[in-house]
């Protein structure tokens, strides 16, 4: 069950036996292993979600896939090539605010295109602002935008580079439920149009099932590892609000929750102990 599912499509992103151990800066003998024995594969055009209890190293995995963090052991492959340094074929949507506060929304969306020297950066950025529904807000600075609008800007910023792999780290966790459903549907629409490989991190099981082709469950930290994998065989296109009422959705939810529940309780107990 833990071996990566081999799909017909080529593998976009592949983590093999990845472990991440952090040394305590003040006391090098103290080590903390965030994740270990993680093997996962995301096919080209596949939408994979990773769920797990709080503090289980989900973001660590994403940083490894992005090339921001080198794993202690194990290997990362991107379209069959071993990854060294930043993952150039990936776009990363962070959980926290990642916009440059000194740039306007438009300039933020343009940033990646500028860095790569795209000749029509401005036109492309304007187009993306419209596509995420922010036409007319080009000249606003991030602090003048609402949380949802900042996320849209981040989304446009990431997608404007047309990455083959999209990494998303709880991108909507700070949004209210309505805005969130709207954005989830928008992301699904954009994804359906381009069919990129997506690795989506969330703690929200509903969101994971509603959006993905496959859901991976991570165990509670430290040293978390995948303990379950579920294929979501729900028809697309989906509406994240309506899909939650389907019997198949509820079945999947019950099955995944059965695996996740114990881990959540374990994670919670650890949190209480360390607090």
């Amino acid at each position: 069950m833990l071996t990566p599912t081999m799909s017909r499509t080529p593998t976009a992103l592949c983590l093999e036996g990845v472990a991440c151990t952090f040394a305590n800066r003040d006391d090098p003998s103290q080590r903390y292993t965030a994740v270990r024995d993680v093997s996962l594969a995301v096919g080209a055009g596949e939408f994979v979600s990773v769920v797990g209890p709080t503090g289980c190293g989900k973001s660590t995995l994403l940083n490894v896939a992005a090339g921001l963090l080198a794993p202690s052991t194990g290997a990362v492959q991107v379209f069959g090539q071993p990854l060294a340094g930043i993952n150039r074929r990936a776009g990363y949507m962070f959980q926290a605010d990642s916009l440059m506060p000194w740039r306007t929304a438009l300039a933020n969306v343009r940033a990646g295109l500028e860095f790569r020297g795209a000749p029509d950066a401005d036109a492309q950025a304007r187009d993306w602002m419209k596509r995420v529904g922010l036409g007319g807000f080009e000249d606003r600075y991030p602090h003048q935008l609402s949380g949802g609008m900042r996320k849209r800007t981040s989304l446009a910023q990431t997608l404007a580079l047309d990455p083959d792999i999209i990494l998303m780290d709880e991108p909507f966790s700070a949004l209210d439920i309505q805005t969130r459903q709207l954005m989830e549907n928008e992301v699904l629409e954009l994804w359906a149009a381009k069919k990129k490989a997506v690795l989506f991190i969330t703690h929200d099981l509903d969101e994971a099932i509603a959006m993905s082709d496959r859901v991976l469950v991570l165990s509670a930290g430290p040293a978390s590892r995948p303990i379950g994998e579920f294929v979501v065989d729900l028809a697309r296109p989906r509406d994240v609000a309506e899909i939650k009422l389907l019997p198949r959705f509820l079945e999947l939810h019950a099955a995944i929750w059965a695996v996740l529940r114990d881990e959540v309780l374990k994670g919670y107990a650890q949190k209480l102990r360390s607090a």
Binding site: A66, L68, I86, F94, H143
Partner: protein, 273 residues
């Protein structure tokens, strides 16, 4: 209009305070107006504290009748601007370099601390020897004052760059050079701008102190000259001119800051949609 102090007439009240100070000053110093309390002699109060009317006469003469202060003001202003410019550029360059080169910063740390805690005004005589009595020695003094303010702010600014913003820029494909240009520099300059009032003020202090310690022109020189002849009215007039000048400079900086920092949130700004 009501007389009670309020937001509408606050300017009038502020002007009133200034006027009251001058009136009291005049009453206490004008020879023969009030009986002597502290001094034995009618003239002594005005000898020590000057007379407002004579002071304004002096200022009027400087600006209108003789119109000879503009040359001195220009010199002081040029010194201030040069000191600020050179000090900022040096501070920015060194701050960026040391913040991004941990080894160099670790080696140089004690020296920077030592240089910063040294009372740098005492360098003025050395600069006068090195650079002469012209503009250069004043600029050098101002630069030593401005440099550290800017340096520490840039250093802080680079260190405080949000790791998420940095990681995001790297994921967007920024090279080291682009990170410097588009992430570190804007973050550092925002800290520089937030200390603009202090650094411009210190550049001004450097210029005036430098002039006061030895020069042939500038407002500090006028004060030095007047002091040599115990012309307290001219000294006071010089101080008033310098104060007004510093206020104007500060207001100009404030305008510049508002223009440059418009991306920063200000408290109570409701513009979210």
């Amino acid at each position: 209009m009501s007389w009670k102090p309020g937001p509408k007439n606050i300017r009038w009240w502020q002007a009133g305070v200034l006027a009251a100070v001058f009136v009291v000053w005049h009453l206490l110093t004008a020879p023969g107006l009030l009986p002597n309390i502290v001094f034995e002699n009618d003239k002594q109060a005005s000898f020590f504290f000057g007379e407002p009317i004579a002071i304004f006469g002096r200022i009027w003469k400087w600006f209108v009748v003789d119109a000879d202060i503009y040359r001195h003001l220009a010199v002081t202003l040029i010194e201030t601007v040069l000191a600020f410019g050179v000090g900022s550029v040096l501070g920015l360059a060194f701050g960026l370099w040391l913040a991004l080169a941990p080894t160099a910063s670790a080696i140089l740390e004690p020296y920077i601390k030592a240089l910063n805690s040294m009372p740098r005004i005492i360098l003025a005589p050395i600069f006068a020897v090195w650079f002469g009595l012209g503009i250069a020695s004043k600029v050098a003094l101002g630069v030593t004052l401005v440099f550290f303010i800017v340096f520490f702010n840039v250093y802080q600014g680079v260190k405080e760059v949000s790791p998420v913003v940095l990681a995001n820029a790297r994921m967007l494909g920024a090279s080291q050079k682009q990170l410097l240009r588009h992430v570190y520099l804007p973050s550092a300059t925002s800290w520089v701008f937030s200390s603009l009032h202090t650094s411009v003020g210190l550049a001004f202090v450097g210029a005036v102190v430098g002039e006061y310690l030895g020069s042939s022109q500038g407002v500090g020189y006028l004060i030095l000259q007047a002091e040599g002849t115990f012309d307290i009215n001219t000294v006071m007039a010089g101080i008033l001119v310098l104060t007004a000048f510093a206020l104007a400079l500060d207001a100009a900086v404030g305008r510049l800051e508002r223009h440059l920092m418009k991306w920063q949130p200000r408290a109570g700004e409701t513009e979210k949609l």
